[in-house]
């Protein structure tokens, strides 16, 4: 799986680095001074690298917890995100990471304890319940068997009565959650799309049916569930496709266990979008009815409103309004 493992010299013998090296005994191990030497150089091609990404183990020194973008909201007033990992093992064509980073290699920051401290500090200083989103620059669970990060971080949240964590995922790697008691302040949010769009755009991800099976197991184990229908993608028959899709998903949902549903259409910062179009000029998604206006690229306003209104109406036939959140603009 991992052919090359880059490790910052300073953490070369860190127990987590040692454990990960042992997990990939055939990988070439390459020491480096700072992950930026490998990750940041200009002359790299994300699309080519995505065929065989390497793993970079690094130490993070600051900005462990950052304010979340305005629309990243599932009911809390104080929203933050943190990234123990940069980049994702999946290859979703609508993902902004392809346009944000030059490298498709994964970076894992292994000083997990510093994330604990930062989260505790922010939560303790917050007057309102603080929501922490972990699946912003990576999939929260997809690489959990390697990283063990979620297993590490959840006990921190068990101690905090003023904090929620959202794990956002397309993965079926749920064993670490099923092994422990469900937590009321941990929302496992599944990003879902209709089958035809998953097949066309969410490369290397588990199919919808498998994700729904994973969701169902967690729901039965008592975990609060989130549904993320973001991005909604335009196609000629989107109304039919999404109507059937919502029915299919909600047939598996226990509304009592449903924490939140979020909905948003495809959108992306203009700079990232242009980078991605250079990588994938033949991609149909980018040949759709999009409009580029600073600072975002999105569907033409009227179409975007139509799509959101349609999906909202369909969803409200299946779920209570207070659990539905609409995401706009910013990333």
């Amino acid at each position: 799986m991992i052919q090359t493992l880059y490790i910052e010299q300073a953490i070369f013998d860190h127990p987590r680095a040692v454990a990960i090296r042992q997990r990939f005994p055939k990988a070439s191990v390459v020491p480096c001074q700072h992950y930026g030497e490998v990750f940041n150089p200009k002359a790299q091609n994300f699309r080519l690298q995505k065929q065989q990404p390497s793993l970079i183990l690094a130490e993070k020194f600051n900005k462990f917890v950052l304010p979340a973008p305005f629309s990243y909201n599932i009911g809390g007033q104080r929203n933050y995100y943190f990234s123990h990992m940069l980049n994702c093992i999946y290859d979703c064509r609508y993902c902004f990471l392809q346009g944000m980073y030059r490298s498709a290699n994964y970076i894992l920051f292994i000083n997990y304890e510093d994330f604990d401290s930062a989260i505790e500090q922010v939560a303790n200083e917050s007057e309102h319940p603080a929501y922490f989103f972990s699946g912003y620059d990576c999939d929260s669970l997809a690489l959990e068997p390697v990283t063990g990060f979620i297993k590490h971080i959840l006990p921190t949240f068990q101690k905090l009565d003023n904090a929620y964590i959202e794990l956002r995922t397309k993965s079926t790697q749920i064993r670490s959650l099923l092994d422990i008691n469900a937590m009321t302040n941990c929302i496992v949010a599944f990003s879902l799309s209709p089958d035809s769009l998953t097949a066309a755009l969410e490369h290397k991800t588990p199919p919808l049916a498998k994700r729904l099976d994973a969701l169902d197991k967690l729901q039965q184990a008592g975990w609060p569930i989130g549904l993320r229908f973001d991005p909604i993608i335009y196609c000629d028959d989107y109304q039919k496709i999404y109507s059937e899709f919502f029915e299919q998903v909600f047939a598996r949902i226990n509304l009592n266990q449903l924490h939140s549903v979020s909905l948003g259409t495809f959108r992306m910062p203009q700079g990232f979008y242009r980078n991605i179009v250079k990588l994938y000029p033949e991609e149909r998604l980018f040949a759709g009815p999009l409009t580029e206006s600073q600072p975002m690229v999105s569907y033409e306003a009227e179409l975007e409103q139509q799509m959101l209104a349609f999906c909202r109406e369909k969803l409200l036939q299946l779920m209570p309004e207070e659990k539905l959140f609409i995401c706009h603009d910013d990333i």
Binding site: Q3, T4, V30, N45, Q51, C235, D236, P281, E282
Partner: protein, 270 residues
Amino acid sequence: MLHIVTALPCEAKPLIKHYRLNGRQAENSFRIYENDVIRLIIAGIGKCAAAAACAYLQGAEPQAKHAWLNLGIAGHRDLDVGEAIMAHKISDASTGISWYPAMPFKLPCQTLELISLDQPNTEYGCNSGYDMEAAGFYSTAIRFNSSELVQVFKVISDNRANPAEQVSAPQAEQLINAQLDNIDVVIKQLFVLNTQMAQQQNKTEIEAFQQRWHFTVSQQHQLQRLLQRWQARSDSGPDLNQFKTAKNSKAVIASLEKMISNLPMRFDDK
């Protein structure tokens, strides 16, 4: 096109024979051998020579995107003579600068750090390969293409038990010759990546439009992208006769935009 840079004629000879490369006549700066898809240059020894050879080849076609391979012999403390390595890290011993070639393909041999020295040295300090060209080659070639398309392949010619001064030209030739299968694997991978990179450029044919209407540079980019979008949504391209009423390039672009918006937008047929 793949550009191969070697330091010595004895390193080049097996490749010239295997890939049936023909020597270029009337080339007085470097000896260059080529066929339709590979161009090999014999640079001479050292970082500067390797860098100059890269620049020389690229200078002949400044706009072109080529794959690059530095191929030759290297030393190592204890690896067996004849073993092949690819460089996952290249360090310039004199400046301390390092580079990390991205290798997004199945490797035919082990990878190692390669340290480029200014002078021959038989100390073989750490578990690294030692050569005299890779840093000059890499730091120059990386200006011309993406990291994935610039690779270094070396065959171990000397170690503590078999010091460098004992390596003769026929021996070096033999060592490279014995690794031709692995070299071929790397070359094929580079061709695949180069093709994939060219597909990303996805230059659509805009000449037919340019012959009928005058497009500014900005409009040429617009036209290029519109034709890409058309191809993404339809199996066939636009027919020029559809634009016969268009009086100028602006009208062509407007018509194209409108026609594209009417093309099917589906994802279930991919």
